[in-house]
């Protein structure tokens, strides 16, 4: 029996007392970031994750650009019952879209920070590293650009979040944020490949970085910072895109968007676009967007493509295109950007000349979509981020700001106009070309031209803000609608007239306010 006792006690000792090591476990079904980023493929996979935010559904960013388009002088949300939300400028710090937009952008920033930080110590060769780092820097700059134009002073984080406890972070002045954005972009510019080398609009290329530099500098030069020294920078970078000779306007305005509907690239015109893919019906990916199904022509027919129209034209946008006495317009952009018809099931029923406000944003039309069967909600249609016409207009604006209405500035504007009228882009045409305007006059022309050319592309609100005319433009258009709209669409002015001083910036979202002790709220919210 003594022997048995010994065995038992031995068992006890073995099982209980010497097993401390068993507690050191390693995750079985996920990887830890510490051990990643050692190969080019791994770094590229992480880069995909940074790109992914551009089209992520809950980031509510480009995926469903309703909130970027509606509620200013170009578009309104065509639902009488819609009385809250970004699209009608009726929000609070609690609003889910405000929270999601902020969250999505900082999510992108952190993903970029993780990649940038880990690339530093990674054994990947410099040649392989450069384009990855360049794209990551550009994306981080792009996300910060969205933050600074929407919220003003924002927390500037350039390191990955590493602690769950020290999470409080104060706001950095907008000027510093702009400086960092420009610094990142300037660092990225030599690292990334040229547009020609990349060959399609889905990946960041040198022209995209230069275009962004032009855009960022224009904003920095405008309201509210009015750092006018930046016009020169905007001029420099837009000029570099033009002088690269890699880009030109697509002769057909509508073809730009049909290409997007048909998943075709046009690197000459479409310098950078958000790539959407699939439609969630025949694939398990979440890379499909809602361009066409939310921003498009109302349609109940599944073959054409169902669309719950979430953006319709204002009177101002419609009337900004020069109309002929019969109501038609020689500016081909009007009846493409603004659908001249509605669908009655599959039949196109034209609107009458006076039915302006009823018209939906029509740039992206599901009838051209090639992926079938079409999904009611999701489409593979891409969304533009930087087009060559935008570059031309930015160039003109910067040139005008520095040197006045020079020939170069006028030519850039006129190229855009000629294409709009279906004319040869590089052939002067006196019936269309702008000439003989002064500096202020040209600015006004550029402002209107940007409306006509770039409507529904998510640029208008912030253009108005940097020109310092956002509130006036909105209130004028609201008054215009109140005075001239048919009774059943008078509500179109609701969201547009809701803007006040405080709408120049969004409220810092409640999710940040309640959890970050160092953050402060924007004025008026």
């Amino acid at each position: 029996m003594k022997y048995q006792i010994k065995i038992l006690l031995a068992l006890l000792a073995i099982s209980g007392l010497s097993c401390q090591k068993i507690l050191d476990t390693k995750p079985m079904d996920f990887l830890s970031p510490e051990t990643y980023f050692t190969t080019k493929d791994q770094a590229n996979t992480a880069l995909n994750g940074v790109y992914s935010v551009l089209g992520e559904e809950n980031a509510n960013f480009m995926h469903n650009p309703t909130n970027l388009i509606d509620g200013n002088d170009e578009a309104y949300f065509p639902r009488i019952a819609q009385t809250t939300g970004l699209a009608v400028n009726t929000i609070s710090a609690e609003h889910v879209d405000v929270n999601n937009l902020w969250r999505g952008l900082y999510d992108g920033v952190n993903r970029a920070n993780v990649l940038i930080k880990n690339l530093q110590n990674s054994p990947i060769s410099q040649t392989d590293k450069a384009p990855i780092l360049g794209q990551a820097l550009t994306l981080r700059a792009f996300y910060y650009f969205w933050l600074v134009i929407n919220w003003g002073d924002v927390p500037l984080k350039l390191e990955p979040t590493s602690s769950v406890n020290s999470v409080d972070i104060a706001r950095t002045s907008s000027a510093e944020v702009y400086a960092q954005i420009v610094k990142d972009l300037e660092q990225a510019e030599p690292l990334v490949q040229s547009a020609t080398q990349v060959g399609f609009g889905g990946r960041i290329n040198k022209s995209a970085v230069r275009g962004l530099l032009a855009r960022v500098n224009l904003h920095w030069a405008g309201f509210p910072l009015q750092n006018t020294a930046r016009y020169a920078e905007a001029l420099k970078w837009s000029q570099m895109v033009i002088q690269s000779n890699e880009h030109d306007l697509n002769p057909s305005y509508s073809q730009i968007f049909i290409n997007q509907c048909q998943d075709k690239y046009d690197i000459k015109e479409m310098i950078w676009e958000v790539e959407f893919w699939g439609n969630r019906t025949s694939d398990a990916y979440l890379e499909a967007g809602r361009i066409g199904s939310l921003i498009g022509i109302a349609c109940q027919n599944a073959t054409i493509g169902i669309c719950a129209d979430r953006a319709s034209t204002t009177l101002k946008l419609f009337d900004s295109y020069k109309a002929e006495p019969d109501g038609s317009s020689k500016d081909q952009r009007r009846d493409w950007a603004i659908a001249p018809f509605k669908y009655n099931n599959a039949t196109k029923v034209p609107w009458t000349a006076t039915q302006k406000l009823y018209r939906n944003a029509g740039k992206w039309r599901r009838e051209y979509e090639t992926l079938t069967p079409k999904n009611a909600n999701y489409t593979p249609i891409n969304y533009p981020l930087i087009r060559y016409s935008d570059i031309l207009l930015m160039f003109a604006e910067a040139e005008n700001a520095i040197n006045g209405p020079t020939a170069a500035a006028l030519d850039a504007v006129n190229q855009v106009r000629r294409r709009g009228y279906g004319k040869a882009v590089h052939t002067p045409d006196v019936t269309i070309d702008i000439s003989g305007v002064d500096k202020a006059g040209l600015l006004k022309v550029i402002q209107d031209e940007r409306l006509r050319e770039l409507c529904f592309e998510g640029l208008r609100k912030w253009d108005l803000i940097r020109w310092g005319i956002f509130l006036d433009a909105c209130h004028q258009e609201a008054a215009n609608i109140d005075a001239n709209a048919q009774a059943d669409v008078k509500y179109a002015s609701f969201g547009i007239k809701s803007v006040t001083d405080r709408n120049l910036l969004l409220p810092i979202p409640s999710s940040e306010l309640t959890l970050n002790q160092l953050i402060t709220q924007n004025p008026g919210w």
């Binding site: 038992l8 209980g16 050191d24 990887l31 559904e57 952190n110 590493s162 769950v164 893919w277 979440l286």
Partner: protein
């Protein structure tokens, strides 16, 4: 016997029936002088008496008072006592008694602190004694029992055991029969046969006070308990005809809140002990099944008929021995094992009918058509009213899908068991087959389960035991409350919302087709629920293997080593298939299906040493030390496939379709623990327990891995004090106090690691190529993560009167849970929305009362009651960082998912309903009314009258009005306020048991008071819409909607909801009193069963959920379809709870 004696001691001679007394007298015996030779040294008390010619009764009472000893004697024989004259000073009890009993016809025996008075021996009869029998009598712990009566049957010859428990008796021949009896123990009868030595072990009699309570790593008599432990009365409990023990647990034990998600067979049941501690983490208790601690076990795998006891450890002194996993309380389940003796076979079977208790009243065909006309008169004129007048529909009965999908369905439950064995080897085998059909067609639950136990004693020192159980479970059928994208995809939406009539002879199509021909399937997701139920496959197949064994070795009589080990393997295969006759299969996805296989393996090795010793008679010490190593591994693999070409193959044809998503999850954790417990008692009067446990978990980083959980408890049994002796009716009075720290480690296994996720959403497509995988840091590491700890104090009082015929237990507790393992929200600037942090604090405190009474007790008729009630208050003390409150939504409908319905605010309970206050409807008088030239009337809301969140121009009479709390003339999130409290003010139960001859009747009532429920069914079915979902049916009250002619109502006009929001109109009182279980049984008398050749036969009828008193308007007030600590009491499309009638029999062969 014990009972009779004790009754006498209480001074109520009348409770002993004369007949019983005679029997008792017969068993009286001669008392040997040896019994009196007890060591005087052990008597601490000194007696002072100076009495002349005083009745013995008074003298004895005086001795009892002074010594603190109990005195047991028969009141009748005291009547024959002679008056006593005695004068002693500082005399021992023994000396005093000897003097007092000098001339009396009595003897006395002193056993521990009890004086037993017995008649003096009658002189030996002429018995020709020839055989000497010797032996020792011991108790269950093998300790010698002195003073046991050993009596020769059918004679007056009796002896009693000496201090060593041994005896010697002469018996006449081998046919002699010996009776062993002792107060408080069950008597035993043993035939002498050819034996010369007869050793007997007596079992303690079952009394409430002697009841054994199973606690962590051991068991203890209820009298010796220092902590708060609630025991389920298994006899009453077994009367409930339920599938799983959890279903019958509600209301049985004070402070244990049991609520099931809804009435679906197999739906999740949530048990919360003394309030929820954790905000975002699991609050369910730890289960210890036959000594095997396990988190979230598959409780359906346990057959309730196999359960021998359920004890619920509530306070920290009881749970701290489970350390890091004890904070949510511990449910200790012990299953039945074999008993020695002849092989006993038992069969029990029952047949039950499950029936729906309630149907929702929906609009009649007439009202439905009237609504359609209100929605669109022109359209109604060309449809419903084309060939018929409105009044025609008054005579139409219409289609109600509730009639088609609800049915009365049976449950058949059969158990068979076999048990028996010898003194050394005992075994039991049991099996159970249960087939339960749900009250919704094509839903149900099947269980096939078997168990085997074996216990073997090699010798007095060495024992082993084995327990093996296997269960195969199948939960089948659609779950109506399973999460859907919109409220329209839920089963009961289609059942209640399907239109009752068609026009133009569509009735048949409405009844038979998958989709109503009148609805557009892109906007309206209703589908024929009957067809859906017939075609959707939803099977959850579980296989559960539970094995454990132990080996126990008495190194010394007082030192026991126990080594145990075991494993539980639970494998769930969830299958779903949607053929073309289902909404999903008929959509663009085509026939589709999915499967998932979850495997959980828990294993454990446990080694304990228990030292138990009594010193100097009065000091009892028990010391336990142990180590446990346990582990859990989990894996889940599955896939979803769409576009299955050959749907007739069902799931087996998935390989031919297009896979869309694949799940693969694997994880494991280990826990290494050391623990120790000290129990000390002085004369069973002062009791002390101290425990400590150290737990090391792989879920935390090295620095924070170890947690230490101490507890202390003390109890004082005041009724053992001499100064309380005169209080004759008092049978028990114990004060308890405890303090301890317990933990909670319910976080994911690798929460402290940063993880790099590759979610499909992080992909990005370049150049139209299939998206490339993307990755990012999906969770933030927190190396500081450590145990959540709960500090709890508990004060308790156990008081019993009249030999526990009236017993009351009161407990007060106060728990503070700090370092909450909170899945805390992070500011979005971090790039993360949540991370596990130890932050925040929650407090729970409350009172628990349990009252057990024996109201009537006669041989023929008895009535006993058991009542419990518990009050818990919980309060959030702090949240993450500077968060003042935390808002939580419920996922059920895409329009509402982002709207918070619950608010946890510092200083308030963990969850409260949050939303708008309903303020009636707008009336015409609230508007400026203008009529234009065409006669069109338009309404403009008067200035100064607040809007309802819609644009003011859109508001019309009959729309919902809300309280504009901030007075800004409009309604938005700033007007949200607390609109209800889902936490009950008190919960409890009342059980009554009646027996009359062979009949027994159990009546069990359960109640829940003061909690609110959010009835989202009404949000959908009492909010008529114009623009969407025409041809949809609503609740019958919608007939009373606002019209200019019917302004005094709460039901808004069409499209009258205003802002999409939750409001307090649908917050309902969820209090209820439920007649939960009634069982009437009849046990056939022995002469009949003997005749039939069986041992026992019982037949019974019983009912479950017979009647519920409640104001709740939904199917059933016990509902919480999205149950978490933050989101209790939400109801939408819940499976109705059935009423069950059962007919059954129990036969023992």
């Amino acid at each position: 016997m014990y009972k009779n004696y004790t009754a006498l001691r209480c001074g109520i001679p009348s409770c002993v029936k004369p007949k019983l007394w005679r029997v008792m007298k017969l068993s009286f015996f001669i008392c040997f002088v040896t019994c009196l030779q007890l060591s005087a040294a052990s008597f601490a008390q000194k007696i002072n008496l100076d009495k002349k010619n005083t009745p013995l009764r008074e003298i004895l009472n005086e001795i009892r008072r002074q010594s603190g000893y109990s005195i047991l004697c028969d009141a009748d024989i005291l009547n024959t006592a002679k008056p006593v004259t005695v004068n002693v000073k500082n005399s021992s009890v023994e000396e005093t008694l000897t003097k007092c009993f000098a001339d009396q016809p009595f003897n006395y025996i002193i056993k521990e602190k009890t004086i037993l008075v017995t008649p003096k021996p009658v002189a030996d009869r002429v018995i020709t004694a020839s055989i000497d029998i010797t032996g020792t009598v011991t108790d269950e712990k093998n300790l010698p029992l002195p003073g046991v009566t050993v009596k020769l049957a059918e004679s007056q010859l009796a002896v009693s055991t000496n201090n060593n428990g041994s005896y010697k008796i002469k018996v006449p021949d081998e046919k002699a029969i010996l009776l062993f009896s002792y107060i408080g123990y069950e008597s035993q009868t043993i035939a002498v046969g050819d034996k010369k030595v007869i050793n007997v072990q007596l079992k303690e009699q079952n009394s409430k006070l002697n009841e054994i309570v199973v606690v962590g790593y051991g068991s203890v008599k209820r009298t010796d308990l220092t902590g708060a432990v609630g025991s389920v009365n298994i006899a009453d409990f077994a009367k409930a005809p339920v599938r799983s023990f959890e279903e019958a647990l509600a209301g049985r034990v004070a402070g244990v809140q049991v609520s099931s998600q809804d009435g679906q067979p197999g739906s999740a049941i949530n048990i919360i002990i003394r309030g929820a501690n954790s905000l975002t983490q699991d609050n369910s208790p730890l289960y210890v099944i036959d000594g095997f601690p396990i988190e979230n076990p598959e409780n359906n795998a346990i057959n309730p008929a196999d359960i021998a006891s359920i004890d619920i450890l509530k306070d920290a002194s009881a749970t701290a021995i489970y350390g890091a996993r004890g904070a949510n309380g511990v449910v200790v389940i012990t299953t039945k094992r074999g008993k020695s003796g002849k092989i006993q076979t038992a069969y029990s079977g029952n047949y039950a009918l499950n029936q729906i208790t309630k149907r929702m009243a929906v609009l009649s065909p007439y009202e439905f058509v009237r609504l359609q006309a209100d929605i669109n008169q022109a359209k109604a004129d060309t449809t419903y009213l084309k060939n018929h007048t409105l009044d025609y529909y008054k005579g139409v009965s219409g289609i109600n899908f509730q009639d088609k999908i609800f049915a009365t369905r049976p449950t058949i439950n059969q158990n068979i068991s076999l048990s028996g064995g010898t003194e050394t080897t005992r075994f039991s085998i049991s099996g159970n087959i249960m087939n339960q059909d749900g009250i919704i067609i094509n839903t149900g639950y099947d269980r096939y389960q078997g168990r085997f136990t074996l216990d073997h004693k090699f010798n007095d020192k060495f024992k082993i035991g084995l327990n093996f159980a296997y269960a195969s479970l199948l939960q089948k059928g659609n779950s109506p409350s399973v999460n859907g994208v919109t409220s329209q995809t839920y089963l009961l939406y289609s059942v209640l919302g399907y239109r009752p009539v068609g026009y133009n002879g569509e009735e048949q199509a409405i009844e038979d087709n998958l989709f109503d021909p009148a609805i557009s399937t892109t906007n309206d997701l209703r589908s024929n629920p009957y067809v859906t139920l017939q075609n959707e496959v939803r099977n959850n197949n579980t296989e559960n293997v539970f094995t454990n064994g132990f080996l126990s070795y008495n190194i010394f009589p007082s030192l026991v080593l126990k080594i145990s080990g075991g494993f539980t393997k639970n494998s769930l295969t969830a299958e779903a298939f949607n053929n073309s006759q289902t909404r999903s299969g008929a959509s663009i996805l085509g026939p589709n299906g999915s499967f998932r296989n979850d495997k959980t393996l828990d294993w454990l090795n446990e080694n304990t040493l228990t030292y138990s010793q009594t010193f100097h008679r009065d000091h009892h010490l028990e010391l336990l030390g142990g180590t446990t190593l346990s582990g859990r591994s989990f894996s889940s693999y599955g896939a979803t496939v769409i576009g299955v070409p050959n749907e007739s193959l069902g799931l087996a044809g998935l390989d031919e379709g297009t896979p869309t998503s694949v799940t693969a999850v694997a994880s494991k954790s280990y826990l290494l623990s050391y623990y120790s417990r000290l129990n000390y008692s002085y004369r069973s009067r002062y009791l002390l327990t101290a425990t400590i446990r150290a737990d090391g978990s792989s879920k935390f980083s090295r620095a924070n891995r170890w947690g230490y959980f101490p507890s202390f408890a003390a109890a004082w049994r005041l009724n053992e004090e001499s100064w309380l002796m005169p209080l004759k009716s008092l049978s028990n009075l114990k004060l308890r106090a405890s303090y301890g720290v317990t933990g909670n480690n319910r976080v994911t296994d690798f929460a402290y690691y940063s993880s790099l996720g590759f979610p499909i959403g992080a992909s990005y497509s370049f150049q139209n190529a299939t998206p490339s995988k993307g990755t990012y840091v999906t969770s933030l590491s927190n190396q500081d993560l450590k145990w959540e700890s709960t500090k709890e104090i508990d004060g308790g009082l156990d008081i019993g009167f009249f030999n526990e015929r009236l017993a009351l237990t009161v407990d007060y507790y106060h728990k503070n849970t700090s370092n909450l393992l909170l899945n805390a929200q992070l500011p979005p600037t971090t790039g993360f929305s949540n991370a596990y942090k130890n932050i925040g604090e929650v407090q729970n405190n409350g009172w628990e009362f349990t009252l057990n009474t024996v109201n009537i007790s006669t041989p023929d008729f008895s009535w006993s009651s058991s009542f419990n009630i518990a009050f818990n208050r919980n309060k959030v003390l702090s949240l993450t960082q500077n968060q003042e409150f935390m808002l939580t939504g419920v996922t059920w409908d895409q329009n509402y998912n982002n709207i918070p319905l619950y608010k946890a605010v510092i200083g308030g309970p963990i969850a409260q309903f949050y939303g708008l206050r309903f303020n009636g409807l707008y009336q015409v008088s609230d508007f400026d009314v203008t009529t234009n030239a065409n006669g069109t009337v338009s309404y403009t809301l008067k200035a100064g009258i607040a809007g309802n969140g819609n644009s003011r121009a859109a508001i019309k009479p009959g729309d919902n009005k809300y309280v504009d709390l901030n007075g800004d003339q409009t309604i938005n999130a700033n007007d949200y306020t607390i609109i209800g409290n889902p936490n009950p003010k008190f919960i409890g139960g009342l059980n009554n048991t009646f027996t009359y001859k062979g009949f027994d009747l159990g009546v069990f009532l359960q109640f829940n008071y003061g909690n609110d429920i959010y009835n989202a069914n009404r949000l959908i079915f009492e909010t008529p819409l114009k623009t969407l979902n025409s041809n949809m049916n609503y609740f019958a009250v919608v007939a009373d909607r606002w019209t200019p002619a019917n302004p005094n109502t709460d039901i808004s006009t069409l499209d009258g909801q205003g802002i999409t929001s939750y409001n307090d109109r649908f917050v309902e009182d969820g209090s209820y009193l439920r007649l939960k279980t009634v069982q009437l049984g009849y046990t056939f008398p022995k002469k009949i069963t003997d005749h039939l050749g069986i041992k026992a036969l019982k037949i019974y009828v019983s009912g479950q959920n017979l009647y519920t008193w409640t104001h709740y308007s939904g199917f059933d007030p016990e509902v919480s379809i999205r149950n978490t600590a933050l989101t209790p009491g939400f109801d939408y499309s819940s499976y109705p709870r059935p009423r069950t009638f059962t007919f059954g029999t129990n036969v023992t062969f």
